[in-house]
């Protein structure tokens, strides 16, 4: 395949960065979930944590 280096570079950077970002978001979520009591964890309800 021609330009294989560029292909691997491009797709590789995208794969790595998106994976790293996804992992960091999930980890942040885990860490935060632990410090918030379960009843306040629901994000689909209309319960606003703070007043606008």
């Amino acid at each position: 395949m021609t330009h294989l280096g560029y292909l691997l570079g491009g797709w590789g950077v995208a794969a790595v960065l998106l994976t790293v970002y996804a992992v960091s978001v999930v980890r942040r979520g885990r860490a935060l979930s632990v410090s918030v009591p379960e009843d306040q964890r629901r994000w689909l309800t209309s319960q606003n944590p703070t007043d606008g």
Partner: protein
Amino acid sequence: MTNPTSSVATTGSPGSRALGLATLLGLVGLLVLAFVLTEPDVRIHPSTGQEIGQFDAVRLLYLHVPMAVITYVAYSLAAFASAGYLIKRTPWWDVTAHAAAEVGTVFCFLVLVTGSIWGRPVWNTWWEWGDVRLMTTLILFLMFVGYLALRRTAADPRVQARRAAVVALVAIVDLPLVNRSVEWWENRTLHQKSTLGELKIEDLTLFTLMIGFLVFLMVFAWLLLHRFRVGWLTLAAGEHQVAAAIKERRAEADGSEVASAVGETS
């Protein structure tokens, strides 16, 4: 201080896991299409008879173009949510704006990088100053880097939310001006030379691009969902900490002192 809970402490949910699975499958499908089933871009020069074209570098476009579209989707959402926040002033809009902006910036960075990597074999340069789309995307990226920097400052959440919303909206308003000024500046643009229209867009190429849009939309949705939840939890954690601190302080003090201080008669 952790509370014993019965549910697993994570931002995942059955819905997000299903989405994640579907996304991974989609990515596999896209890779098969992009690398195996589609052909490289090879054309015959009309006069010299040589083989010209992007050859296999075209496979980068199945990554770069969908991500570019998603970047605009993300930033549009961020701007919309910022406006929504300024009008409605509820945290949901603010958290959405922040999440969309952050995920959008990740995509924007990748668009610039993959574009540059694609440009090297095809345009023979890593960067081109006169190209309108390139310049506009770069400025857009820088503006939202500033937005994210503002978001990380320690400030009252409402103050930060308001300022960030203004920054996002001014950035979006500025964008057409950036575009127009670069367009006037250099009329020649490499992006024009190699528009999608010039590629032999056969059915499979177009189909792969469409699959690419769909798959990266799913990636964006998954990341946005989780990032939104992180933002929401951040707010909740802050609130909870304040409440817990107040509770602790009250427990420390003598019961009757506190009661008389707040005017309660017992």
